[in-house]
Protein backbone atom coordinates (compact mmCIF):
# COMPACT_ATOMS: atom_id res chain seq x y z
CA UNK A 1 0.00 0.00 0.00
CA UNK A 2 1.26 3.48 -0.88
CA UNK A 3 2.12 5.64 2.10
CA UNK A 4 1.35 9.27 1.57
CA UNK A 5 2.66 11.42 4.44
CA UNK A 6 0.46 14.30 3.28
CA UNK A 7 -2.64 12.12 3.50
CA UNK A 8 -1.75 10.98 7.02
CA UNK A 9 -1.11 14.56 8.11
CA UNK A 10 -4.51 15.36 6.61
CA UNK A 11 -6.10 12.63 8.77
CA UNK A 12 -4.69 14.17 11.94
CA UNK A 13 -5.68 17.70 10.94
CA UNK A 14 -9.21 16.81 9.88
CA UNK A 15 -9.74 14.57 12.90
CA UNK A 16 -8.79 17.43 15.21
CA UNK A 17 -11.29 19.65 13.35
CA UNK A 18 -14.14 17.10 13.45
CA UNK A 19 -16.59 18.64 15.92
CA UNK A 20 -18.99 15.68 16.02
CA UNK A 21 -16.27 13.13 16.85
CA UNK A 22 -14.88 15.48 19.48
CA UNK A 23 -18.36 15.98 20.96
CA UNK A 24 -18.78 12.21 21.35
CA UNK A 25 -15.31 11.78 22.85
CA UNK A 26 -13.82 9.69 20.03
CA UNK A 27 -10.02 9.53 20.18
CA UNK A 28 -7.62 8.79 17.34
CA UNK A 29 -5.22 6.04 18.46
CA UNK A 30 -3.23 5.64 15.27
CA UNK A 31 -3.46 6.38 11.57
CA UNK A 32 -1.85 4.73 8.60
CA UNK A 33 -2.77 3.85 5.04
CA UNK A 34 -3.51 0.32 6.24
CA UNK A 35 -5.84 1.18 9.12
CA UNK A 36 -7.34 3.81 11.36
CA UNK A 37 -7.77 2.93 15.04
CA UNK A 38 -10.19 4.83 17.25
CA UNK A 39 -11.11 4.59 20.92
CA UNK A 40 -14.20 5.71 22.82
CA UNK A 41 -14.92 5.63 26.52
CA UNK A 42 -18.64 4.93 26.99
CA UNK A 43 -20.41 7.60 29.01
CA UNK A 44 -23.98 7.56 30.37
CA UNK A 45 -25.19 9.73 27.48
CA UNK A 46 -23.90 7.13 24.98
CA UNK A 47 -26.22 4.43 26.31
CA UNK A 48 -29.78 3.42 25.39
CA UNK A 49 -32.56 2.28 27.73
CA UNK A 50 -30.98 -1.09 28.56
CA UNK A 51 -27.63 0.48 29.34
CA UNK A 52 -25.88 -0.74 26.18
CA UNK A 53 -24.10 1.68 23.87
CA UNK A 54 -26.61 3.04 21.38
CA UNK A 55 -26.41 1.40 17.96
CA UNK A 56 -26.19 4.78 16.29
CA UNK A 57 -23.12 5.57 18.33
CA UNK A 58 -21.37 2.40 17.19
CA UNK A 59 -22.40 3.13 13.60
CA UNK A 60 -20.89 6.60 13.97
CA UNK A 61 -17.67 5.16 15.34
CA UNK A 62 -17.47 2.74 12.41
CA UNK A 63 -18.36 5.50 9.94
CA UNK A 64 -15.70 7.87 11.29
CA UNK A 65 -13.14 5.08 11.23
CA UNK A 66 -13.91 4.11 7.64
CA UNK A 67 -14.10 7.73 6.53
CA UNK A 68 -10.61 8.42 7.81
CA UNK A 69 -9.36 5.13 6.33
CA UNK A 70 -10.49 6.60 3.00
CA UNK A 71 -8.91 10.00 3.74
CA UNK A 72 -5.60 8.24 4.48
CA UNK A 73 -5.66 6.84 0.95
CA UNK A 74 -7.34 9.61 -1.02
CA UNK A 75 -5.77 12.48 -2.94
CA UNK A 76 -4.86 15.39 -0.64
CA UNK A 77 -6.94 17.78 -2.76
CA UNK A 78 -10.12 15.83 -2.07
CA UNK A 79 -12.80 15.39 0.57
CA UNK A 80 -14.40 12.10 1.52
CA UNK A 81 -18.12 11.63 2.11
CA UNK A 82 -20.02 8.50 3.13
CA UNK A 83 -21.89 7.07 0.12
CA UNK A 84 -23.47 4.13 1.88
CA UNK A 85 -23.00 2.32 5.15
CA UNK A 86 -24.07 -1.15 6.19
CA UNK A 87 -23.68 -2.50 9.71
CA UNK A 88 -24.34 -5.79 11.51
CA UNK A 89 -24.65 -5.72 15.28
CA UNK A 90 -23.28 -8.90 16.81
CA UNK A 91 -23.05 -8.23 20.55
CA UNK A 92 -24.29 -5.52 22.92
CA UNK A 93 -21.64 -2.96 23.91
CA UNK A 94 -21.32 -2.56 27.66
CA UNK A 95 -17.91 -0.87 27.78
CA UNK A 96 -16.29 0.70 29.60
CA UNK A 97 -14.23 1.28 26.45
CA UNK A 98 -14.88 0.38 22.84
CA UNK A 99 -12.40 0.63 20.00
CA UNK A 100 -12.65 0.41 16.25
CA UNK A 101 -10.44 -0.43 13.33
CA UNK A 102 -11.27 0.78 9.84
CA UNK A 103 -9.38 -0.22 6.72
CA UNK A 104 -9.62 0.11 2.93
CA UNK A 105 -10.68 -2.87 0.85
CA UNK A 106 -10.25 -1.23 -2.54
CA UNK A 107 -8.98 2.26 -3.28
CA UNK A 108 -10.21 3.96 -6.43
CA UNK A 109 -9.99 7.55 -7.59
CA UNK A 110 -13.72 8.19 -6.98
CA UNK A 111 -14.69 5.49 -4.46
CA UNK A 112 -12.89 3.86 -1.55
CA UNK A 113 -14.48 0.63 -0.33
CA UNK A 114 -13.89 0.19 3.38
CA UNK A 115 -14.70 -2.06 6.30
CA UNK A 116 -14.66 -1.56 10.06
CA UNK A 117 -15.00 -3.63 13.18
CA UNK A 118 -15.83 -2.37 16.65
CA UNK A 119 -14.64 -4.26 19.73
CA UNK A 120 -14.62 -4.15 23.48
CA UNK A 121 -12.47 -6.05 25.90
CA UNK A 122 -14.27 -8.85 27.74
CA UNK A 123 -12.45 -11.07 30.23
CA UNK A 124 -9.07 -10.84 28.55
CA UNK A 125 -10.28 -11.23 24.98
CA UNK A 126 -11.64 -8.85 22.38
CA UNK A 127 -15.40 -9.16 21.79
CA UNK A 128 -16.58 -8.16 18.32
CA UNK A 129 -19.53 -5.80 18.74
CA UNK A 130 -20.31 -4.96 15.16
CA UNK A 131 -18.98 -5.16 11.65
CA UNK A 132 -19.58 -2.49 9.04
CA UNK A 133 -18.79 -1.72 5.44
CA UNK A 134 -19.06 1.54 3.57
CA UNK A 135 -18.42 3.09 0.18
CA UNK A 136 -16.64 6.38 0.66
CA UNK A 137 -17.06 8.91 -2.13
CA UNK A 138 -13.98 10.94 -3.02
CA UNK A 139 -14.90 14.48 -4.05
CA UNK A 140 -12.55 17.18 -5.27
CA UNK A 141 -12.36 19.99 -2.71
CA UNK A 142 -13.33 22.49 -5.39
CA UNK A 143 -16.57 20.57 -6.06
CA UNK A 144 -17.86 20.58 -2.47
CA UNK A 145 -20.73 23.06 -2.06
CA UNK A 146 -21.46 24.10 1.50
Amino acid sequence: MQHNPDALAEVHTRFAQNAFSRHLGIELVSASAEAILLRLELLPQHRQNLGFAHGGLLATLADVCMGFAAVANARPDSHVLTGDLRISYLNPATGPVVWAKGYPIKVGSRLVFTEAEVYQEAEGSQKLLCKASASMVVVAKADVRR
Binding site: S30, A31, S32, A35, L37, V97, W99, Q126
Partner: protein, 221 residues
Protein backbone atom coordinates in the same frame (compact mmCIF):
# COMPACT_ATOMS: atom_id res chain seq x y z
CA UNK B 1 -8.02 -10.38 34.85
CA UNK B 2 -7.22 -6.71 35.25
CA UNK B 3 -3.60 -6.17 34.26
CA UNK B 4 -1.79 -3.22 35.75
CA UNK B 5 1.14 -1.23 34.48
CA UNK B 6 4.50 -1.83 36.20
CA UNK B 7 7.49 0.43 35.60
CA UNK B 8 10.64 -1.71 35.50
CA UNK B 9 14.18 -0.80 36.54
CA UNK B 10 15.22 0.61 33.14
CA UNK B 11 12.14 2.84 33.00
CA UNK B 12 10.31 0.70 30.43
CA UNK B 13 6.80 -0.45 31.30
CA UNK B 14 5.29 -3.88 31.47
CA UNK B 15 2.07 -5.50 32.76
CA UNK B 16 1.01 -7.75 35.59
CA UNK B 17 -0.29 -11.13 34.46
CA UNK B 18 -2.13 -12.20 37.62
CA UNK B 19 -4.38 -10.50 40.16
CA UNK B 20 -1.68 -10.52 42.84
CA UNK B 21 0.82 -8.89 40.50
CA UNK B 22 3.50 -11.47 41.27
CA UNK B 23 3.76 -12.58 37.63
CA UNK B 24 4.59 -9.90 35.07
CA UNK B 25 5.15 -9.91 31.31
CA UNK B 26 8.85 -8.99 31.52
CA UNK B 27 11.66 -8.72 34.05
CA UNK B 28 11.27 -6.20 36.85
CA UNK B 29 14.99 -5.52 36.34
CA UNK B 30 14.21 -3.96 32.97
CA UNK B 31 11.62 -5.05 30.41
CA UNK B 32 13.43 -3.46 27.49
CA UNK B 33 16.89 -4.52 28.69
CA UNK B 34 15.75 -8.13 29.04
CA UNK B 35 14.11 -8.25 25.61
CA UNK B 36 17.09 -6.64 23.90
CA UNK B 37 19.54 -8.99 25.56
CA UNK B 38 17.72 -12.35 25.43
CA UNK B 39 15.92 -12.12 22.11
CA UNK B 40 18.01 -9.72 20.04
CA UNK B 41 21.58 -9.99 21.30
CA UNK B 42 21.52 -13.71 22.10
CA UNK B 43 18.90 -14.55 19.47
CA UNK B 44 18.78 -12.65 16.18
CA UNK B 45 22.30 -11.28 16.48
CA UNK B 46 23.89 -14.74 16.21
CA UNK B 47 22.74 -14.86 12.58
CA UNK B 48 25.07 -11.93 11.90
CA UNK B 49 27.96 -13.43 13.82
CA UNK B 50 27.73 -16.83 12.10
CA UNK B 51 26.75 -16.00 8.50
CA UNK B 52 23.19 -17.26 8.82
CA UNK B 53 20.41 -17.46 6.24
CA UNK B 54 19.70 -14.55 3.89
CA UNK B 55 16.32 -14.18 5.56
CA UNK B 56 15.11 -15.39 8.93
CA UNK B 57 11.89 -17.21 9.80
CA UNK B 58 11.12 -16.41 13.40
CA UNK B 59 8.46 -17.88 15.71
CA UNK B 60 7.63 -16.23 19.02
CA UNK B 61 5.73 -18.15 21.67
CA UNK B 62 4.11 -15.37 23.68
CA UNK B 63 3.64 -12.27 21.47
CA UNK B 64 2.19 -10.46 24.53
CA UNK B 65 2.86 -6.74 24.45
CA UNK B 66 4.62 -6.84 21.08
CA UNK B 67 7.83 -5.44 22.57
CA UNK B 68 10.03 -8.22 21.16
CA UNK B 69 8.35 -8.03 17.76
CA UNK B 70 9.04 -4.29 17.53
CA UNK B 71 12.68 -4.83 18.52
CA UNK B 72 12.89 -7.57 15.88
CA UNK B 73 11.52 -5.16 13.29
CA UNK B 74 14.12 -2.55 14.24
CA UNK B 75 16.90 -5.13 14.05
CA UNK B 76 15.76 -6.39 10.64
CA UNK B 77 15.60 -2.88 9.22
CA UNK B 78 18.92 -1.82 10.75
CA UNK B 79 20.73 -4.85 9.30
CA UNK B 80 18.64 -5.08 6.10
CA UNK B 81 17.93 -8.75 6.76
CA UNK B 82 14.34 -9.78 5.99
CA UNK B 83 12.59 -11.33 8.96
CA UNK B 84 9.36 -13.31 8.56
CA UNK B 85 7.82 -13.21 12.04
CA UNK B 86 4.97 -15.30 13.45
CA UNK B 87 3.78 -14.54 16.99
CA UNK B 88 1.46 -16.78 18.98
CA UNK B 89 -0.72 -15.27 21.66
CA UNK B 90 -3.96 -16.69 23.09
CA UNK B 91 -4.68 -13.64 25.26
CA UNK B 92 -4.70 -10.41 23.26
CA UNK B 93 -4.28 -7.15 25.11
CA UNK B 94 -6.78 -4.32 25.17
CA UNK B 95 -6.15 -1.08 23.33
CA UNK B 96 -6.03 0.79 26.66
CA UNK B 97 -3.22 -1.40 28.00
CA UNK B 98 -1.30 -1.02 24.75
CA UNK B 99 -1.64 2.75 24.96
CA UNK B 100 -0.54 2.74 28.60
CA UNK B 101 2.64 0.80 27.75
CA UNK B 102 3.78 3.76 25.64
CA UNK B 103 6.17 1.65 23.56
CA UNK B 104 6.27 3.55 20.22
CA UNK B 105 8.02 6.66 21.62
CA UNK B 106 10.25 4.58 23.89
CA UNK B 107 11.40 2.36 21.02
CA UNK B 108 11.17 5.14 18.44
CA UNK B 109 9.08 2.98 16.15
CA UNK B 110 6.12 4.30 14.12
CA UNK B 111 2.98 4.32 16.25
CA UNK B 112 0.95 2.78 13.41
CA UNK B 113 3.34 -0.20 13.09
CA UNK B 114 2.85 -1.04 16.75
CA UNK B 115 -0.93 -0.63 16.78
CA UNK B 116 -1.50 -2.21 13.36
CA UNK B 117 0.38 -5.33 14.39
CA UNK B 118 -1.88 -5.63 17.42
CA UNK B 119 -5.15 -4.61 15.78
CA UNK B 120 -4.76 -6.15 12.32
CA UNK B 121 -2.53 -9.06 13.43
CA UNK B 122 -0.48 -8.34 10.33
CA UNK B 123 2.32 -5.95 9.46
CA UNK B 124 4.25 -5.60 6.23
CA UNK B 125 7.05 -3.05 6.34
CA UNK B 126 10.50 -3.11 4.72
CA UNK B 127 12.48 -6.16 5.91
CA UNK B 128 9.74 -7.25 8.33
CA UNK B 129 6.60 -9.25 7.62
CA UNK B 130 4.70 -10.22 10.71
CA UNK B 131 1.61 -12.23 11.55
CA UNK B 132 0.10 -12.67 14.98
CA UNK B 133 -2.00 -15.77 15.54
CA UNK B 134 -4.53 -15.66 18.37
CA UNK B 135 -3.82 -19.18 19.56
CA UNK B 136 -1.75 -21.19 21.96
CA UNK B 137 1.16 -23.24 20.63
CA UNK B 138 -0.76 -26.51 21.09
CA UNK B 139 -3.26 -25.53 18.41
CA UNK B 140 -0.75 -23.91 16.02
CA UNK B 141 -0.24 -25.85 12.79
CA UNK B 142 3.07 -24.53 11.48
CA UNK B 143 5.10 -26.11 8.71
CA UNK B 144 7.68 -28.46 10.27
CA UNK B 145 11.38 -27.78 9.81
CA UNK B 146 11.01 -24.21 8.56
CA UNK B 147 11.82 -21.85 11.42
CA UNK B 148 15.35 -20.56 11.95
CA UNK B 149 14.71 -19.18 15.41
CA UNK B 150 12.18 -19.52 18.23
CA UNK B 151 11.74 -16.87 20.89
CA UNK B 152 10.28 -18.73 23.84
CA UNK B 153 8.80 -15.92 25.90
CA UNK B 154 5.98 -17.66 27.75
CA UNK B 155 5.09 -16.78 31.32
CA UNK B 156 7.46 -18.24 33.90
CA UNK B 157 7.65 -21.98 34.71
CA UNK B 158 6.38 -21.12 38.19
CA UNK B 159 3.25 -19.51 36.72
CA UNK B 160 2.59 -21.77 33.71
CA UNK B 161 4.54 -24.99 34.23
CA UNK B 162 2.66 -26.88 31.50
CA UNK B 163 4.08 -24.61 28.77
CA UNK B 164 7.64 -25.55 29.71
CA UNK B 165 7.11 -29.29 29.17
CA UNK B 166 8.97 -31.76 26.98
CA UNK B 167 5.80 -32.10 24.83
CA UNK B 168 5.80 -28.39 24.03
CA UNK B 169 9.55 -28.35 23.34
CA UNK B 170 9.09 -31.41 21.07
CA UNK B 171 6.61 -29.41 18.99
CA UNK B 172 9.09 -26.53 18.75
CA UNK B 173 11.94 -28.92 17.93
CA UNK B 174 9.92 -30.14 14.95
CA UNK B 175 9.04 -26.62 13.80
CA UNK B 176 12.72 -25.60 13.76
CA UNK B 177 14.95 -26.49 10.84
CA UNK B 178 18.03 -28.60 11.66
CA UNK B 179 20.53 -26.13 13.14
CA UNK B 180 17.70 -23.79 14.21
CA UNK B 181 17.86 -22.09 17.61
CA UNK B 182 15.53 -21.46 20.52
CA UNK B 183 16.27 -18.76 23.10
CA UNK B 184 14.55 -18.24 26.42
CA UNK B 185 15.08 -16.17 29.54
CA UNK B 186 14.68 -19.10 31.95
CA UNK B 187 17.53 -21.42 32.91
CA UNK B 188 15.66 -23.46 35.51
CA UNK B 189 16.80 -27.05 35.97
CA UNK B 190 13.40 -28.45 34.91
CA UNK B 191 13.50 -26.41 31.72
CA UNK B 192 17.02 -27.60 30.90
CA UNK B 193 16.02 -31.22 31.48
CA UNK B 194 12.89 -30.88 29.31
CA UNK B 195 14.89 -29.30 26.46
CA UNK B 196 17.60 -31.98 26.65
CA UNK B 197 14.99 -34.75 26.75
CA UNK B 198 13.64 -33.41 23.45
CA UNK B 199 17.00 -33.66 21.74
CA UNK B 200 18.15 -30.04 21.87
CA UNK B 201 21.79 -29.25 22.60
CA UNK B 202 22.01 -26.54 25.25
CA UNK B 203 24.15 -23.48 25.89
CA UNK B 204 23.95 -21.71 29.23
CA UNK B 205 24.62 -18.04 28.65
CA UNK B 206 25.00 -15.16 31.11
CA UNK B 207 21.51 -13.85 31.88
CA UNK B 208 19.95 -10.41 31.39
CA UNK B 209 19.99 -7.90 34.30
CA UNK B 210 18.75 -9.62 37.47
CA UNK B 211 19.22 -13.17 36.16
CA UNK B 212 22.32 -15.31 36.44
CA UNK B 213 21.75 -17.39 33.30
CA UNK B 214 19.56 -17.85 30.24
CA UNK B 215 19.35 -20.66 27.69
CA UNK B 216 19.98 -21.09 24.00
CA UNK B 217 19.01 -24.47 22.54
CA UNK B 218 19.94 -25.80 19.11
CA UNK B 219 18.23 -28.49 17.08
CA UNK B 220 21.22 -30.58 15.96
CA UNK B 221 21.97 -30.28 12.25
Amino acid sequence: MNSRIVVTADGSKTLTADEAGTEIYHSRHGALAESRYVFIQQGLQIFLDHAGPASIRLLEVGFGTGLNAMLGMQWAQAHQIPVDYTGLEPNRLSIDLLMALDYPPLLQVPEADFYNLHALSRLEVPCFEATVVTAALESYQGQPGTFDLVWFDAFSPRFQAQIWSAEVFQQLFELLRPGGKLVTYSAKGDVQRALKATGFSLEKLPGPPGKREMLRATRPA
